[in-house]
């Protein structure tokens, strides 16, 4: 077979053929994704507030120094962190729990999987509007109405305007929406664990909790580490719920790094500084990904 393969690659691996096949995909990716991302890095070292970019003065890391002194950045970072806490502490555990239950279920799995996945496929802009209806302070505000009907008058709150409240109401929907996605990932990993592992441990007298800790967890470790990374990237890149529920307000209280950078770019027209804020979020994402990979023992083997 080796000789056939060689013949194959000589006849069909002509350099020009390979180049022609690679060029469209790699070219479009370079032009519309890689090149713009490098431009963004470049903009983030300029003091650019409109006008031709060539006339914008170079300020080195000045924009990043300004980031450290911007009080809204701290608030935005705090909200990204809150989302990370929700993703890691609520979204992933719930998703794993649901997946575990489904993996033990005798019937109805595909129905539940369908229902649980629905929030994932709906347009995020629509979901953001929905959650604005839910948390609205108007007379139709669903959550407040529900609380009243349950006789919990004391719990009625201005969910979209109160400090210390609005940050949670704009963070929660994103975590909720992603649960179905991670559940499907976990479910796929869970059902791939050989049933013999469970049978053998059951014969040794292991109860279900012990099975979960000593068989389930170690066998889905790789997938869980990957989910932790996706959840970090989700938390760092989040913007649509704050943007469409509160416009990051009131007074930037519910802003995330990206929604704040959108504000800087489009409302304030500080394109250099806005790019620096977006770049900061990008760099934090890379650092977090690298750290989790390192300590999660998994390596990006396909990058060899």
């Amino acid at each position: 077979m080796a000789s056939t393969k060689k013949q194959f690659s000589i006849q069909y691996g002509s350099k020009i053929g390979i180049l022609l096949f690679l060029l469209p995909g790699v070219g479009v990716y370079t032009l519309f994704m890689l090149y713009p991302s490098l431009l963004s890095l470049y903009y983030s070292v300029l003091n650019w507030q409109g006008g031709p970019v060539s006339e914008a003065p170079y300020v080195g890391l000045g924009n990043f120094a300004q980031v450290l002194e911007d009080p809204y950045i701290i608030m935005a970072l705090g909200n990204n962190l809150r989302m990370l806490v929700l993703n890691w502490g609520f979204q992933l555990p719930i998703a794993l729990m649901l997946a575990y239950v489904l993996s033990r279920l005798r019937r109805g799995v595909s129905l539940y999987r369908f229902l649980f996945y629905i929030p994932v496929i709906l347009p995020a802009a629509t979901m953001a509007l929905l959650w604005r209806f839910i948390f609205s302070g108007n007379t139709y505000g669903l959550f407040n109405n529900l609380l009243r009907q349950l006789g919990l008058e004391n719990w009625v709150r201005p969910w979209l305007s109160g400090d210390g409240i609005v940050q949670w109401s704009t963070s929660f929907p994103g975590a909720w929406v992603g649960i179905g996605f991670f559940m499907v990932i976990f479910l796929a990993a869970l059902v791939s664990i050989p049933e013999e592992f469970y049978e053998a441990s059951a014969m040794d007298g292991a109860n279900s909790w012990q099975q979960f800790v000593f068989i389930t967890i170690p066998n889905i470790r790789g997938v869980y580490v990957y989910s932790l990374i996706l959840a970090v990237q989700g938390a760092l890149g989040a913007f649509i719920y704050p943007l469409l529920m509160t416009k990051g307000g009131p007074v930037h209280m519910s802003e995330t790094l990206i929604s704040y950078s959108l504000y800087l770019l489009w409302e304030r027209k500080t394109w250099g500084y806005g790019s620096a804020v977006a770049t900061l979020s990008f760099l934090l994402g890379i650092i977090a990904t690298a750290l989790i990979w390192r300590f999660g023992r998994q390596r990006p083997d396909e990058l060899r």
Partner: protein, 305 residues
């Protein structure tokens, strides 16, 4: 968050047609007692399912109300369905135009991304050449690039190229940002295809394009369907690129249109809800029809070798 599934740690095995797509019920002691023991689980799961679907039902109910009815009772069902809300959203608020735009952008970009990714994936899966590893890493680097840092450069860049405010331009950019993930997945799939058929075609004198188009593409159909499904669902929902790269009613897509709806419909929340239904219904139908591809794709990504 993107709805793209997690790429696995290794490209070696993709369990198409394996049990991963349909979880086998865990059969210990098949007894009635055990089945009864699962009833509380089902109740819990149904509650969670209701929590996931409730939003849809509430939006549907609200979209058929009048504004006073909504203010009086936000949960109740109206006695007379106000279908005119849909007409208001579709015609007056231009959701009809946005709908067509979304449909076009989504479908064009799906074809473009599949073509661009499968040609690269074919070469990366089948040939050895210099810099292959470098090109592979270069493409995969795209996983790390968030869309948000592309906005300003693309906003300027597309104006220079005449792609600003055009559905074709938006579709091309959707295709571009989908290339890393699609190439990754298609390459992994193509590597699992046995080489015999290609070799037979080559012996018959087929050229590189013939092999790609007549052998690889037909054999890759399961993976192409999966990727198309993910791309369609993602492009249908995409918001921020569409917001930044389109500027007129004629070229807006549904997610952007829906976010502007409250400005058009002052204190007509049922009208907004009708607009929301217009964005939701196609997504739910597409998902119901193509569900197995979504599950397959995520499962393939989740199971590491």
């Amino acid at each position: 968050m993107s709805i793209h599934p997690a790429p696995s740690q290794s490209t070696a095995s993709l369990p198409f047609g394996q049990s991963g797509t349909h979880p086998q019920p865990v059969a210990r002691k098949a007894s009635v007692r055990r089945w009864l023991g699962q009833v509380p689980l089902h109740i819990g799961l149904l509650c969670w399912g209701a929590f996931c679907v409730f939003p849809l039902i509430w939006i549907l109910i609200t979209s058929l109300k009048s504004t006073p009815e909504l203010y009086r009772d936000p949960f109740g069902i109206s006695t007379v369905f106000k279908w005119s809300n849909y007409r208001d959203a579709w015609v007056f608020a231009k959701m009809g135009t946005y709908f067509i735009n979304s449909l076009l952008t989504t479908s064009i970009s799906a074809f473009v991304v599949l073509f661009l990714s499968s040609t690269s994936a074919f070469v990366l899966a089948r040939f050895n050449f210099r810099l292959k590893g470098v090109i592979w890493a270069y493409v995969l680097f795209g996983f790390l690039i968030p869309h948000s840092i592309l906005l300003i450069p693309l906003a300027i860049f597309t104006r220079t190229l005449g792609l600003y405010n055009s559905l074709g331009g938006l579709a091309l950019i959707y295709a571009a940002v989908g290339i890393p993930w699609n190439t990754f997945f298609l390459r992994a799939f193509m590597e699992t295809i046995p080489k015999e058929l290609e070799e037979a075609a080559i012996l018959d004198g087929a050229g590189m394009w013939d092999v790609f188009w007549n052998v690889m593409i037909p054999l890759s159909q399961p993976a192409l369907a999966t990727m198309a499904t993910f791309h369609v669902l993602a492009a249908w929902s995409e918001y921020i690129l569409a917001l930044v790269l389109t500027g007129s009613t004629a070229s807006r897509t549904l997610p952007v249109g829906i976010s502007l709806l409250e400005g058009t419909f002052t204190s007509n929340e049922p009208g907004v809800a009708a607009g929301m239904m217009i964005t939701i219904v196609p997504a739910v139908i597409a998902f119901a029809l193509l569900q197995r591809y979504v599950i397959k794709g995520i499962s393939a990504g989740a199971i590491k070798a």
